[in-house]
Amino acid sequence: MFIRGIGHAIKQAFIQIFRNRAMSFASLFSITAMLLILGLFFILIVNVSVITESAKKQFDTIQIYLLDETDRATAVRMIDELSKMDGVAHAWYLSKDDAMAEYKMKWGDKAYLLDGFAENPLPNSIRVKLSDLEKSDAVVEKARTFQGIEDIKYYKTAVDKLLKITSYIRMGALVIILSLVAVSVVVVANTTKLTVLARAREISIMKYVGASNWFIRGPFLVEGMLIGFISAALSAALIALVYHKIMELFGTDMFLMFSVRMVPAAFLVENLIMIFAALGICIGAFGSIISMRRFLDT
């Protein structure tokens, strides 16, 4: 019985979509448009999240510069103590020569400029890699108490600012996404209402003959879900195309200022398809249920 009911609903849904081509197209168009805008915000959120994550990674290191007279043994004792702290992943010693080597590596073909120094100006240092950025204050406090250090470098304000900005962006995008979803449910509900209205007579006859509300709703529900699904596929394809074009044009360099790469298209599209499909189907289903509510009262 149940299976037969679903079969009937699916068959009727296809017939309805075809018979009401104009309506179906209107619904399809509005859901697709919504999903496209939504997709842009989704891409924004994902990229912002990736940027934050990698920025965090860059800022998760505390550098403790040591005075020249501080010997290696003292440094090792400091490292031991820091390593025991909560939120510290790893602490290690970096000699001034190693530090210079690191710089040369970073500067690449301009490394010859560094050869101009008669003497290595860099200090010996301890590096502390944090596993938990929240614990940075405690670690810095601890380091301050050590004797024989010259300076502590930690870009806390930069990290804080970045985190704040990205959380605003994320919140904003989320609010916009949610309102877009609400708007598209309303749009679909109103479009479907026109179809339902056109079939009010048929629905009333169905009720006289003893059709259950779900039997009447079924085809509309499947119709909404189907249109939602097609919209999802359509908008995911469009977004994938646009994203690919952007990557082709600018390359991943576009975001090099954050020294992070844009999220690879394949990963993004894969997730987008899932999210769009779920959203599209839900929007379609809710839209048609809402639009039918009044007709199924008695």
Partner: protein, 247 residues
């Protein structure tokens, strides 16, 4: 079986029906007559639970309609066939689809549908019209399709709201023969009508309502007695599709 026990239905200050008690047995054939606004449609809507009563109790086919939840309404309506004056066929479905539709609703198997639909159409005398659309049929044929749809699921009760109202006298009489045939196979029939000659000729039970009350209930009755002058002038207005049609 239909039982009304002291049923009252008001529309604001308007009386729909008032304190109506009636007992219609299984297999009865009942004409429901009365002037316009008497409460006939209200009576039928209460049976179908299209509207809810204010007072009293209603039993239909053993179900207490008064206590039926919204979810149980389809079950009630499946035990009742209904035929309207304006046929109410789906214009974009063929005759056989219109009838099959009533079976799909109760989730009948495709095999049962393919077996029963032609059978019922033949019984109604429209077997050859199966592939036609409603607008290609005459009024009488359309009403036969509507009756086929109403009876295909073997309802215990068939309700007909002026089923001959749009038909010429000969066609109307043919439809009455069909209803009589259905009744003889055990289906209870309640028919609202203004057709005096049909009521008189059939000689079935007549329940007359006026101003929301049952004013007469005859086992084998006539349409009206004209015992009062008002009613006489009302019923004898000229016009209508029947020569001796009184309304």
């Amino acid at each position: 079986m239909i039982v009304f026990e002291n049923v009252t239905k008001m529309y604001g200050n308007n009386v729909g029906i008032e304190n109506v008690s009636v007992h219609i047995d299984k297999g009865d054939f009942v004409f429901l007559v009365g002037p316009s606004g008497a409460g006939k449609s209200t009576f039928i809507k209460l049976i179908l639970k299209e509207i809810c009563e204010d007072k009293g109790r209603i039993l239909v086919n053993g179900m207490d309609v008064t206590r039926l939840s919204n979810r149980q309404i389809p079950k009630l309506r499946r035990s009742i066939g209904i035929v309207f004056q304006d046929f109410r066929l789906l214009p974009n479905k063929t005759v056989e689809e219109n009838v099959a539709f009533a079976m799909e609703i109760i989730h009948a198997s495709r095999r049962a549908i393919r077996r029963n639909v032609p059978q019922v159409l033949n019984l109604m005398g429209i077997g050859s019209k199966a592939k036609k659309y409603p607008h290609e049929l005459s009024a009488g044929e359309q009403q036969r399709v509507a009756i086929a749809r109403a009876v295909i699921n073997n309802p215990t009760v068939l309700i007909a709201d002026e089923p001959t109202g749009n038909l010429d006298p000969d066609t109307a009489w043919d439809i009455m023969q069909l209803l009589d045939q259905i009744n003889r196979r055990g289906t209870t029939i309640v028919m609202v009508t203004h057709a005096k000659d049909i009521v008189d000729r059939m000689g079935k039970r007549v329940i007359a309502i006026d101003k929301g009350r049952i004013v007469r209930d005859d086992k084998a009755g006539l349409y009206g007695y004209y015992e009062d002058e008002d009613a006489h002038s009302f019923f004898c207005k000229p016009g209508g599709v029947f020569n001796n049609h009184v309304y």
